[in-house]
Structures are given as C-alpha cells and as structure tokens.
C-alpha cells in the first residue's frame, strides 16, 4: 500500500465485471508467471550442457507429477500471454477498438489459449506421455 496519506481512487471491486478486466489482469499474472518460468528454460539448457546424467535428472524432475502440473500451467500461461499479446499488438496498431470487438477479441484470446494448450497436451499424450 502507498506510504502517502492521499485519498485512493475506486479499485476493481467497485466496478461491474467485464471480460476485458479479466483478460487484462490475467495477461499481467501470466506475464509474471512466465517470468518465473524463464528459470526453467535456463535450467534445461544448463542441464543439457552439463552432461547426460544431469540432463536425465532434469527430465526426471520435469516429468514428475508436480513438474507436469507446473509445465501444464506454464504452457497455458504461455499460450494465453501469446494470444492476448497478439491481440494487444493489433490494438496498438489501431485495430479492434469498438466495444463489441474488444469483448469478442477478449473471449477469442481465452478460447484460443485453451485450444492451443489442449492441442499441445493431446500431442504429448498421443506420443506416450511426458514422463
């Protein structure tokens, strides 16, 4: 909380829920989650460089139940941030500013991220699981 004594403007709980609020907040949340997930990319590369035993250890942890749950969450976060990020880039270019378009593109981001996540994990399962 601010260490100033100034009055605060109304916050989210004051307003009626709209899908654009959710896509905006979730974009931030997934961004922070993915920033933490960068550590996984570094860990994977370091273990691959360090040798066979090291890489096997990394794969074992990534393929364990908690590892898979985290990977699933990160995969959805990645696809959501990707879809909604493309939406934001298009909006930055000046497209889709009508309220109806804004609502529709919000839902499109959510649905597309779920579809992509399902497709990736369906591929993983069809190829004998992730472990």
């Amino acid at each position: 909380m601010a260490d100033t004594q100034r009055p605060l403007s109304p916050h989210v709980q004051i307003y009626k829920w709209q899908v654009q609020m959710t896509t905006s907040i979730v974009h931030r949340a997934t961004g922070v989650a993915l920033a933490v997930g960068t550590l996984l990319v570094v860990a994977g590369l370091l273990h691959l460089a360090a040798g066979e035993a090291s890489y096997a250890h990394f794969k074992e942890i990534a393929g364990s139940p908690p590892g898979l749950i985290l990977l699933f969450g990160w995969s959805w976060a990645l696809f959501y941030h990707l879809c909604n990020g493309v939406r934001h880039l298009l909006q930055d270019a000046g497209f889709g500013f009508e309220i109806a378009q804004f609502v529709r593109s919000s839902w499109l981001s959510i649905v597309a991220s779920i579809v992509l996540t399902v497709l990736v994990w369906a591929y993983v399962l069809m190829h004998g699981g992730a472990a």
């Binding site: 260490d3 460089a49 096997a56 990020g85």
Partner: protein, 134 residues
C-alpha cells in the same frame, strides 16, 4: 523567419530544451522495446514450443545434437535474449505499479535486471557450450 515564429514553434520551457528531456527523446523507448520483443517472441516462442515437443522423448545425444545445429543454436540464443528482455520490461511495469515504497521498488528493479542478465548469460553460455564442443 521572425523571432515570433520561433516562439510559436517551440512552447517548451527554455530549461527543458536545454536539458534535452522533451517528448520523444526516450519516453516511448520502454513501450516500443516491449512491443518489438513481443513481436519477436511470437515467432521465436512458437518455434521454441515446436522444438521442445520434437525433443519430447529424444535421448541425450539427439537433444544435444538438435540444439547444436547452427540454426537451432542461433534461434535459441535469440529466443532467450528476447525472452529475458521482454520479461524485465514487463516485471518493471508491475513493480512500478504495485510497489509504493521507494527503496523496495528500486531494490526490486535492480534485482530483476541482475537476475535477467545472469539468466541470459548463463543460457547463452550453455547453448554455446553445446554448439561448440563436439
């Protein structure tokens, strides 16, 4: 051109002009870099996911050989650099928005930059080690 025209053209305070801090010096730099790295990550991110899926059940030698291929090593380094750059710019905004105690804000802003540089350097070194050692 008279002196009057000059006055009309530039309404900034004289001190502002002298310091060179007027608009469009660096004001949109953060915003623009965030978008450029985002555009790069759309392509590199999809490529990265596809590459990881291809290596799902690959043994160690195959995984290493895949990363060592020149195009893959190049794109992987590009991905990692864009990823950490984009992450730092994003985290910076989140910290500036929510951390209202000045010293905590500054400490966090510096800490994420240190971590991102370390992460990026470690990743690049790992890729180079895989790509350059037989």
């Amino acid at each position: 051109m008279s002196a009057r025209d000059v006055v009309v053209k530039d309404r900034r305070n004289a001190l502002k002009i002298a310091r060179g801090l007027g608009s469009s010096q660096s004001g949109v730099g953060h915003w623009w870099t965030q978008r450029v790295t985002a555009a790069a990550l759309v392509l590199l991110g999809l490529w990265f996911v596809a590459t990881v899926l291809c290596l799902l059940h690959a043994d160690y030698a195959t995984a290493r050989a895949t990363v060592a291929r020149p195009w893959n090593a190049l794109l992987l380094i590009a991905f990692v650099l864009a990823m950490f750059w984009h992450a730092v710019l994003g985290l910076q905004v989140v910290i500036e928005d929510y951390v209202h105690t000045r010293w905590k804000e500054v400490v966090l802003l510096v800490a994420i930059k240190f971590l991102a540089v370390l992460g990026a350097l470690a990743s690049v070194l790992a890729v180079l080690r895989i790509a350059l050692t037989p």
